[in-house]
């Protein structure tokens, strides 16, 4: 049933702007740019999807289908996960391309390297924790949960820029062109992925709990 719901998300809820946001992983090809911002655009795409879903009475429609209430939440969060994993895959391609075409360090935060993907996982994880549980408390409210999540994400992106100058481990180990310090960056990537998995599961649990209490009108 979840597969069918995901198909429904792609067919009926995917917002045209979200395709463009996915394409903005190409920002990684710009020299001296805070690449974390490219992940934020995907979050903006998820915001547009949630807005479109609200305007099209998606939750009401979905609830009339033969599914359980809990699955409405699972499908939406898994849809976001799919979009984010696609964005990370595209980012990985852009990182490789960046290495081939530019191969220059980034003066505005993390270099285009393996650790950047770990940073992407962390940013998406924080977004899940702040956006979905607040949104599923009342599906008609999207703006405030998104603003709260966006502030946290931008604080982290700014922190990345600061750390890339101020913290030796960040500056000399993580924020370096590939393939140097490959093992440490891989560990950072895995830690980011683990945080992402944990925060997504926690977000799912909290969102479902709140949505089950929600009256849909």
């Amino acid at each position: 049933m979840l597969g069918k719901l995901l198909k429904k998300e792609w067919a009926l809820c995917m917002h045209p702007a979200a395709w463009i946001m996915l394409g903005l992983s190409t920002l990684i090809l710009i020299p001296n740019y805070p690449y974390g911002v490219s992940f934020f655009y995907v979050m903006l795409g998820i915001f547009f999807i949630s807005m479109g879903a609200r305007e099209n009475h998606d939750v009401m429609f979905t609830m009339t289908l033969p599914i359980g209430k809990r699955e409405v939440v699972t499908a939406r969060i898994l849809f976001a996960v799919e979009l984010e994993l696609i964005s990370l895959l595209l980012s990985a391609c852009m990182i490789l391309l960046h290495g081939k075409l530019l191969n220059a360090p980034n003066g505005a935060g993390m270099d285009a390297n393996l650790a950047l993907l770990g940073e992407g996982f962390i940013l998406y994880g924080v977004f899940h924790l702040l956006f979905f549980p607040a949104h599923f408390r009342d599906v008609s409210r999207i703006g405030l949960p998104f603003v709260a999540a966006s502030i946290a994400v931008f604080v982290l992106i700014t922190l990345d820029v600061v750390l890339s100058y101020a913290l030796p481990f960040w500056r000399d180990v993580l924020d370096t062109p590939d393939p140097s310090n490959g093992k440490t960056k891989l560990v950072f990537l895995l830690v980011g992925a683990a945080f992402y998995a944990f925060s997504t599961l926690l977000s799912l649990h909290l969102s479902q709990k709140r949505f089950l209490k929600l009256d849909i009108r």
Binding site: L12, F61, M63, T64, K69, D215, I216
Partner: protein, 279 residues
């Protein structure tokens, strides 16, 4: 006669409104009209049936199964149509149908095509291109194509012109003949005069009547009188209203003989209007 739906002591509490221990049941193959003024609790009740709302108390059983435990199984056999809803306004009906059909075990493609023809629906149109009546027909087409045994219709004739309303009521009668059970909420009582077998009447969150339409109509008479008539101030008069010629009020059929006022059979609207006035 099989019981399709059993609602027992349904309670939903909002600030300023309580759906107060509502209990009723639906019989297979019957059309049940659910009447009450706006805000009486009709939509709250219907939405509770579909788990859109979380009731604060009570039990809802479809075909003997508790909705909380058998939601998916039950929803396979239910079609929900609401006049107020418009889904995915810019998507083609073809696409919405393709997604919807994938959720139902008993989807009947031939029946869907037949519904499109009967309802004159063009699959290449989007919901925003459809009139309210056509939107309802499209939702009905979806419900009928998955062979729903029970149709829950929330104000389906609201906002429709008289011809479209007449068309829909004919469709409901035909569906009832085919054995479908219909629960039909409305405040346009004239639609029910033509179609309903049973009546649920709700006011202020409380179910005031749950019986056959004939029984409901037969339980009241309408008295038309002037202030000079004897018994004009009788406490047996229910929901006294001014009219052009004087006053009208309901009288319980068993009390009619106790009054010297002229009475006649009341229709559903007159009964509802006077009962609301009394409330």
């Amino acid at each position: 006669m099989n019981t399709i739906l059993d609602v027992t002591d349904l309670v939903k509490v909002y600030p300023g409104f309580t759906l107060d221990h509502v209990s009723f049941s639906l019989e297979e193959g019957k059309i049940t009209g659910f009447i009450g003024r706006n805000g009486a609790g009709k939509t709250t009740t219907l939405h509770s049936l579909l788990s859109l709302l979380t009731p604060d108390g009570g039990e809802i059983r479809f075909w003997g199964m508790d909705i909380r435990e058998h939601e998916q199984e039950i929803k396979q056999r239910i079609g929900f149509v609401s006049a107020g809803m418009s889904f995915y306004t810019k998507q083609k009906l073809r696409k919405i149908t393709a997604i919807t059909r994938s959720f139902y075990d008993n989807w009947d493609g031939a029946k869907y095509q037949s519904c499109l023809k009967v309802f004159s629906l063009d699959e290449n149109k989007t919901p925003e291109m459809l009139s309210n009546g056509m939107k309802i027909k499209y939702m009905l087409a979806l419900a009928l194509s998955h062979n729903a045994d029970l149709l829950i219709l929330d104000e389906p004739t609201s906002g429709l012109d008289p011809v479209s309303r007449e068309e829909l009521t004919e469709i409901f009668l035909q569906l009832s003949e085919e054995g479908k059970t219909i629960l039909f909420s409305t405040h346009i009582t004239s639609d029910l005069d033509k179609t309903a077998d049973n009546i649920l009447y709700i006011a202020g969150g409380k179910l005031r009547a749950a019986c056959s339409l004939k029984e409901f109509i037969a339980s009241y008479l309408l008295a038309e009188y002037t202030k000079d008539d004897a018994d004009a101030a009788s406490p047996l008069l229910i929901g006294v209203r001014r009219s052009k010629e004087g006053f009208t009020a309901l009288v319980r059929t068993e009390d009619a003989g106790k009054l010297s006022l002229p009475t006649r059979t009341a229709n559903l609207e007159e009964i509802m209007v006077h009962l609301e006035k009394e409330a």
